[in-house]
Amino acid sequence: MSWRRGEEPGTLDLLDDGVELMTRSWSAVGVLWVLALPARAALALLLALAVKLGELSELAGPTFLPRSYLVLVLGIATVHGRLVLLQAYRRARTGPAPARWSSLRVPPGDLARGLLATLVVFLLLCVISPTLVLPPFLLPALGLASVVAAGAGPGWRHAIPATFAGYARPGRLAAVHGLLLLGWLVATLNLHLLVTLGAEAVVQLFSVDPAGWVARLSFRNPDYVALLLAGSSLCIEPLWLAVLAVHRDALRARSSGEDLRWWFEELRRQERREAA
């Protein structure tokens, strides 16, 4: 994960480094999955309910309101999980791993910045969601809100400008999100196959009526589709965050001289190798 002076990582470099980071932090990935699952499932079921109600959903405000707040309350755990994972990514690169439980601790300032920036981006996402075209442009910001939380400066007010500063290389960001979207599609298909195989095994082992399973696990069932997409998004989320963390570090390295330090380290490593 070091780039030569003046060099910038390409799209595939970002993915490569992201995968490397993720594979070095599996326990934190598990923590994110456990903490983010309730909020993701609640959001999926809320959207599935809206689809099922169709035109009646405009009258269903009183039904949606408590569910919306439930999504937001559970979302606090998601942000905490993301920060735990991002801390693990930072430590995977720089420092020794902390003791078992202390890795779950997140500095309150980071959590404050992460929550504030995530809420602002999520609010913008909700406001522009009827346009259907604009929401994908805000997706990177949803991840960057947590990614920059630890490095946005001492004041929590810096979090929002730092989130949008991540858009400094829009082409690279768009390309990497295109590839991640493809990965999401593949993860969704794989998860569907896994669930179908599991259901088949249950039917065979316990002699359950297969007709009910077929109806439940069909793409015509909005609940199933929403939960499937939510599950596959959780599968891809650790990689997405890792890629965004590498992207942010590459941007910051240019302004802080961090790339120069990496370059010196690389030169010293080469010297040591040649001397050996």
């Binding site: 959903s57 405009e58 937001l72 929590w156 001289g257």
Partner: protein, 70 residues
């Protein structure tokens, strides 16, 4: 990084992944201490609570609109 002075690698102090010279780092640390006051946290809590309430309402509106269009 803040004052844009050139500092050699031995003298640079890294904090949160960013290199600083000693006076800048002292300033950053001073700000961090000053801002972690009770008032700052209260203001943050009020802003966040307001944002939380508004986001819940907007999410409800967006969900209803989304369901209607689907």
């Amino acid at each position: 990084m803040r004052c844009r002075k050139v500092v050699c690698q031995e003298c640079a102090l890294t904090w949160e992944g960013v290199n600083h010279c000693r006076p800048c780092l002292e300033e950053v640390r001073g700000q961090a201490r000053r801002r972690s006051s009770w008032w700052a946290w209260s203001a943050w809590a009020v802003v966040l609570a307001g944002l939380f309430l508004v986001t819940g309402l907007v999410l409800t509106w967006a969900t209803a609109l989304w369901g209607n269009r689907w």
